[in-house]
Amino acid sequence: MTSDNPKPWEEGTPVPLYVITGGEGTSAKAFDLVTLIATRAEPEPSMQPEQASILTMCAYPLSVAEVSAYLSLPFSVVTVLLSQLVDDERVEAIAPVPVAAFPDRGLLEAVIHGLRRL
């Protein structure tokens, strides 16, 4: 998802994460709030704690929004962490159902069916 991003991470700029949030060249565009993240590798001791936490919590898939909520980190900071994990093939990012100008009728009917069972 992120491999075509020209500047996924600027090496050698040890700035706090919250600065990266407002900076340019983050990978935020590659992730939607409801992109699902599924772990594909075990956490390693050498990893950043936040990234290790992501691998642990996404053993069952979770949306980027949920990861952001559980880590108490802003969405765009989480997408930077996730970009690295995707590049390293430690997580898989499952894109949301594409919604065109008018969503697919089958999709809508599935949602209607599901809501009626609530």
């Binding site: 919250y18 709030l33 409801v34 949920e66 499952i94």
Partner: protein, 206 residues
């Protein structure tokens, strides 16, 4: 700063909140409305998980300009959003996002509406004027929406046709009443959005 304490960091979903099937995909609906109109209540009423909060830092004019390490720019605003989740079936997870109270920030976070199925505009009849800007912005962005009037017991009750006129809603946009505390009522508001989307899709293919 942005780091939670170690307890927060280790925390993940509670076990009952874990069980999303592998192979599922996400889709989202946005609930918009003024401060205190009941967006989070609505999200919580239909969600299968306790509503969670995600946030984003919004820089208004200073995007890409402020590079002062250690100082978050004065143009930065944190926008928090509550959300919940409904597993529709094994392949489809519906996320419901309640946008924040300060309406001028809703539309800065492009990712909120991008790719959303549509929106529910929640209205408090005591503060109808809050919705005008929202409705205009949704129309500008071509985000399909329905309007749900949250029936606060203490709020004045108006006939729906009067409200439609007051909101300057076109006849085609569904206008429903809804009790944001009630699961079935919120479900019905969401259903009215889905049925409306079906109608729009049918018109498009006709």
């Amino acid at each position: 700063m942005d780091y939670g304490d170690s307890d927060t960091l280790r925390a993940g979903p509670r076990v009952p909140d874990l069980l999303l099937p592998h192979g599922a995909r996400g889709v989202k609906v946005v609930v918009v409305g003024g401060f205190g109109v009941g967006k989070t209540t609505m999200v919580g009423a239909v969600s299968e998980i306790q509503p969670l909060t995600t946030e984003e830092r919004m820089t208004q004019a200073g995007v890409g300009i402020d590079h002062n390490p250690g100082v978050s720019g004065k143009n930065t605003t944190t926008v928090a959003m509550d959300f919940g989740r409904i597993s529709i079936n094994e392949e489809l997870i519906l996320y419901l996002f309640g946008t924040p109270g300060q309406e001028r920030f809703w539309f800065l976070w492009n990712g909120i509406f991008e790719g959303a199925l549509g929106a529910v505009v929640l209205v408090d009849t005591r503060r109808i004027e809050v919705c005008f800007e929202v409705i205009t912005r949704l129309e500008d962005r071509r985000v399909p929406f329905v309007v749900a009037v949250n029936t606060f017991p203490e709020a004045p009750q108006y006939p729906l046709p009067e409200l439609r006129t007051a909101l300057a809603l076109s006849d085609s946009v569904p206008l429903v009443t809804c009790d944001a505390r009630d699961r079935a009522s919120c479900r019905d508001a969401l259903l009215s959005l889905m049925v409306y989307l079906c109608t729009l899709a049918a018109q498009e293919t006709a």
